[in-house]
Symmetry: C2
Subunit: 418 residues, 2 copies
């Protein structure tokens, strides 16, 4: 399929702004500049900015069906409210919840996401229907050392989806406090055999670190290195409570980091991710919203803003993370972590969004990068193209009313039953 | 004029949700519940929530024309970039900039705001045209001890507008580091003679406190008490660097507080406003966005979320500020500080907004208060009523294209000249 986007302003990979047309064929950007060829689809982008889509590097999309179920609570009562509902969720509920999540992601400019949950065929179905690029990790936990069924289910899921164009399956051993050594290494083995990512939570709270020291005598990062778990297919979410030495270990093994500032603040995990030290160590650090139960939205524009202002506030330094840094994390760092070639340039994936430059939050046009990070919210996005296909046009996503009604009705049932 | 809002869900003053109709006459809510009388205007609110409008308790609306001019910088280079443009701004620019700001406020659900700047007749004109409730403080600074012209201009402005229905003029002595004792007391005298608010910046940075100790031997709050400046007509913005004892002094004099968490984080002022201690002392604490040069948007939904997650993160306690607290600050505390009777109940001002309950960020409906604070952004608002008049219907504000084009063009001129 071919597509031409005409008369746009372009966000260049160097964060400069140009003007021109973008011509797409078979899911890739073929020409940027003066292309004025015929194409099957045309998007007139006058008054709009074309930029790569945002990459949500850590979420649990089916949990959108539980948004609002548990807030303003300490970790244990917060979890208990969620755990009352979670066992009732079927694969159909994963489909219903993740359809809502993906609708929200598309509407707010996200074109790819890394997810972790169970019964991920439901999420894969939603992703295919809505046309988003979905990296889906089947979660593994072994509180009773029974990782075997999770491992088998995860591997079967990977086999079912490994050749799909949009859905990239992977494995999600949950964390050191929910997975033992055998489970973690089993996960790594599956990932290596099928060449997938590993999606993991790491060093989110002090309790996690202290509990691990109590259990093993070592902090999580050196212990994970010792058992041979760290590698460049690993995307670790949170990574707040790490030392500079541990950052060095993560960098040495090419581990990718998903930073989730809003979730960390809302859950009061304490501390702030040492982003400047990670940057210095050369780590790839993308951004994630975490789930709608801990954020509670999936709007990556808000996430970029909160990431930047949190670092500034924490370091008493307004220069520590700039608008370009936050935008780079929201787009390019996340894409790099997932192995996606993103950018408005020839050869890159045709995963991009159009932003309404006449939206009140984008006015005036003194510094569009600053506007995108500090002023915009997801509603500035008008059109979304993923893999060369238009998945949102003029803010309309096909079937959105049905997606919303289905989620509304099913959430009501789940709550009334609980 | 009469207006009926039909078939809405209602946000009650106790944060509960009911259903019913709201009947308005002459700018006041006359009946809430089963009212089904005829009215000149009808809003069908099926699928929507009616709630009081948000109150932006501290901003500088004309500065929206400079959005993006200065970001990611230390205070002095940040100010220098602004100071290059500020002297060029005419009363017409205030009108152009504040029209953009007011458009954004209405679009994101704000029905009243407290503003501080110069040439405020331009802002008053914009407020009247767009129909927002505007509390406008003419700023006073006396770097060269020349407060007299500002005082005279401010007093004349107050006299021109004191009998207006929507525009409430007041006086804005800027801060202790820009105003001497004589200026502050002159401002208070003007406020008392004309029965207006006083709008002020206080204890925003440590430098401010240290500079004041160096200059006077005392920290700002006790010094302000000593000179007789503190009173219940004072709204003080920021108030980060205060002790518990100083909070007690502010409470004793009935000073109102405008909390600006996003601006504080973005400018890296350091520290976090001691909200729990202020609450305990019984202070009225509302929320403000500060200007589009320090935030950079005026979306009070985002401000409520950032206020709550910042307190949680800072105190390592997810229970410290709850969704209801943040929503209460965004609506009722701000209204109280401005002397506005806000609430969806009989007798209250007809300043309210409708929220689309089928917006993707408001789904599902497990906890609407949580959705409003943690998930929503300003684009959930569909209709805005101020003083009984519909100022936005179905997300359309009259003349928005002109407002946007004018701001865009004028900002371009200002930047190219600078």
């Amino acid at each position: 399929m071919s597509l031409i986007v005409k008369n746009a302003k372009l966000l260049r990979p160097d964060f400069g702004i140009s003007e021109g047309n973008v011509y797409v064929e078979d899911g890739r950007i073929v020409e940027v500049g003066n292309a004025s060829v015929e194409a099957e689809e045309v998007l007139d982008a006058r008054g709009k900015l074309i930029m790569p889509g945002l990459v949500n590097l850590h979420t649990h999309s089916p949990m959108s069906i539980m948004r609002g179920v548990s807030d303003d609570l300490e970790l244990m009562p917060w979890l208990q409210k969620i755990w009352k509902i979670e066992p009732k969720l079927t694969e159909e509920d994963m489909y219903i919840g993740s359809s809502l999540a993906i609708l929200e992601m598309i509407k707010t400019g996200t074109t790819a996401f890394l997810d972790m949950y169970w019964y991920m065929d439901g999420v894969a179905k939603a992703a295919k229907e809505l046309g988003i690029r979905a990296f889906l990790s089947w979660a593994m936990v072994d509180p009773d050392k029974s990782q075997i069924p999770h491992a088998r289910l995860a591997e079967e899921f990977i086999k079912r989806w490994k050749d799909d164009e949009l859905v990239k399956p992977s494995i999600g051993p949950h964390a050191v406090y929910t997975c033992g050594e055998e489970t973690l290494l089993k996960a790594k083995d599956i990932a290596e055999r099928h060449d997938t990512l590993i999606h993991f939570h790491l060093a989110e709270t002090r309790e996690e670190n202290e509990g691990h020291v109590k259990a093993t005598g070592e902090r999580p990062v050196p212990w994970l290195e010792k058992i041979g778990f760290l590698c460049d297919r690993l995307v670790a979410a949170h990574v707040i409570w790490v030392t500079k030495g541990e950052i060095g270990i993560l960098a040495k093994h090419g581990v990718k980091i998903a930073h989730n500032p809003t979730s960390n603040m809302k859950l009061a995990t304490g501390g702030v991710m040492p982003w400047p030290e990670m940057k210095e160590a050369g780590l790839t650090v993308g951004l994630g919203t975490d789930s709608a139960v801990s954020n509670n939205n999936l709007d990556m524009f808000e996430e970029m803003k909160i990431a930047a202002v949190l670092q500034k506030a924490h370091r008493w330094n307004p220069e520590i993370m700039k608008a370009e840094d936050a935008l780079g994390m929201g787009i390019y760092e996340g894409a790099k972590a997932l192995g996606l070639d993103y950018g408005i340039r020839e050869g890159a994936l045709a995963d991009f969004i159009l932003v309404d430059l006449n939206h009140h939050k984008m006015i005036p046009h003194i510094d569009l990068i600053s506007n995108l990070v500090y002023s915009a919210t997801g509603d500035v996005v008008t059109d979304v193209v993923i893999n060369g296909k238009i998945v949102m046009r003029d803010r309309r996503v096909p079937n959105e009313e049905q997606i919303i009604k289905r989620a509304l009705d099913r959430a009501k049932e789940l709550i009334s039953e609980s």
